[in-house]
Amino acid sequence: MARRMRVRNHKVVLNRSAGGDAGITALLVVLGILMFIPMYFSVMTSLKPLDELWIFPPKFYVINPTFKNYADLFRLMNTSWVPFSRYIFNTVLITVAGTFGNLCLGSLAAYALSKIPFPGRKTIFQMIVLSLMFVSTVTGIANFITFSLLGLIDNLLAIILPACCSTLGLYLMKQFMDSSVSNEALESARLDGAGEFRVFWSIAMPMVKPAWLTLIVYSFQGLWNTGSSVYIQSEQLKTFNYAIQQILSAGIVRAGASTAAMVIMMIVPVTVFIVSQSNIIETMASSGMKD
């Protein structure tokens, strides 16, 4: 048996048939290409000059790449009656405020749930797990009523406040604290007379940096893509993604500008993910759900 043990990527790999390896590699390559094609086409199409966009049949590659579509996109943006910078400002404001709020409230709550044995924390955590099981569309109508009562209709707070209490990042951070922050370290600080806030800030928080980053990335991805919302009616409070959707809705006629818009919307979250990938995977290692 030991004769057949092999080491791959610092791990012992057992009982692998060569045929299986080849089959799996082939399948992975095919799937990878299928996943990649739409992205590839968006980028290619966004770089095609006008005459190449209408070649029949369409080409897989660009002959004379140009940034003219991106220039067109910005020209189209400037024809909107609300200055385009306003849409971008709204998206940045929502994203920064919502992410910051979610980070503050979420990490405090995660610490309390993970490290302070107060009565009722199990119930609260179960509610949080339950909240991961349904999409927020369900709460939309009731929230519309709440926002009307609070006078928050047509106010960006209607988007920011619910984002502050989003639960996925909190859940991941709590699980990460359970598995990687030892109670002994916290206990010795408490014996030295440090209050809970001090223990939280100077001992627990520095140990869960990957989880912070994961929470930030998740919150960011959600908020960056905020489109039209029933809570927001004024044009000057609409978001960047909403404006992009208006351009996309013209369909294939504006294929060049549309794909340029898609590429711009995509680049930001994908770059954020590339930078934070190893931290997110580290956080996900403790994402498991106990029953």
């Binding site: 030991a2 012992v12 057992l14 009982n15 048939s17 799996i24 992975l28 799937l31 990878g32 996943m35 990649f36 739409p38 992205m39 086409f41 199409t45 209408w54 049949p57 369409p58 409230l105 979420g106 709550a109 309390a112 302070i116 044995p117 107060f118 609260i124 509610m127 949080i128 339950l130 349904f134 999409v135 569309t137 369900v138 709460t139 109508i141 009731a142 009523i145 709440t146 502050c164 209490c165 909190l170 809970e196 991805q221 993604n241 959707q245 996309l248 294939i252 294929a255 549309s258 919307m265 995509m266 979250p269 994908v270 993910f273 990938q277 995977i281 996900m284 290692a285 994402s287 498991g288």
Partner: protein
């Protein structure tokens, strides 16, 4: 003076839980850990107002007739009766939602698991790159709308262009105007965007399975990679499987936006109309709050129900 010492002595004596009633013990613990309440309060207040209250409010309002202008009027089960007996479009919506969930949920879950499993043996740099290729579509925002250009109904759409060029068809196919194409296409696009959190969680879960388990498995006679997956790997990452299932199920009910963007609102003959669309129609556009609350309640119960069901099924893994 002596009294004081007595008090001190009583205080110093450790208090065991059995000396008190449950309520007294809880109260004492609550006081001792009051910092916990202070820390969770800001989050919990918002969570309660924007997530907990709305679920119950929807359930209550679903028994009323309410248009946001007049005070809600209690009408018992009328909304539910109307939904199931009088509203043909709602029945189509339930059917489409179930088709969507039953296809995209399990397929995206298994795809996440197998792709994560396949790439687990790649060297780290390579693995990070392949992870990016598979994960990127799920965070690429409105990138999926490129499929609208692929399947555009004129001959400049890529698919029609190639089908005409190679003489499979003579007239362009109206992909998003033809009821028999809309659902399958939307499902394919939904799957393309579906390798998200579940996928990342599986990649991480596979990396932390203890190496000694594999060595022990080999000695116990595990013959091939499939046995290894079923008897060693999956049981070791059961908690990840559970979390992934929750993410996939929730996701599989949330693809309404893709349908709207590609097939329009409403889609041709309501062929891809889901409960989400019905909710948006009655809640966001007609402001029939009572009726749409009933729809929201049904959607909520469907999602929680399927999560519970899958939890039961997953407890059988590795047995």
């Amino acid at each position: 003076m002596s009294q004081n010492t007595a008090v001190k002595e009583r205080k110093a004596k450790p208090v065991a839980r059995k000396d008190m009633s449950k309520a007294q013990w809880t109260l004492k613990e609550m006081k001792k850990h009051k910092a916990g309440y202070i820390m969770i309060a800001p989050f919990f207040i918002l969570f309660f107002v924007f997530t907990v209250v709305p679920v119950f409010l929807s359930m209550i309002l679903s028994f009323t007739s309410f248009n946001l202008l007049e005070w809600p009027k209690f009408i018992g089960l009328d909304n539910y009766i109307r939904l199931f007996l009088d509203d043909d479009i709602f029945l189509t919506a339930i059917q489409n939602t179930l088709i969507f969930a039953v296809v995209t949920g399990p397929v995206s879950y298994l795809l996440s698991l197998f792709v994560a499993w396949f790439i687990n043996e790649l060297p780290p740099k390579m693995r990070a790159f392949v992870t990016l290729i598979f994960y990127a579509p799920s965070i690429a925002g409105s990138m999926y709308q490129i499929f609208g250009i692929f399947f555009s109904s004129d001959r400049y759409g890529y698919v029609n262009g190639f089908l005409i060029e190679y003489n499979f068809i003579t007239e362009p196919i109206q992909f998003f105007q033809n009821a028999s194409y809309v659902m399958p296409l939307c499902i394919v696009v939904a799957l393309w965007t579906s390798l998200g959190t579940t996928f990342l969680s599986f990649i991480a879960g596979l990396q932390i399975v203890d190496n000694s388990l594999y060595e022990a498995g080999a000695l116990d006679g595990v013959k091939n990679r499939w046995q290894e997956l079923w008897y060693i790997t999956l049981p070791a990452m059961k908690e990840q499987l559970m979390f992934g299932a929750v993410m996939s199920i929730t996701g599989s009910f949330g693809f309404g936006g893709i349908v709207t963007a590609l097939a329009g609102f409403p889609s041709v003959d309501y062929c891809a109309w889901t409960i989400m669309h019905h909710l948006e129609d009655y809640g966001g556009q007609r402001f029939e709050v009572g009726y749409s609350s009933a729809i929201a309640t049904i959607l909520f119960l469907m999602m929680i129900g399927s999560n519970m069901l899958i939890k039961k099924l997953l407890s059988k893994v590795g047995q």
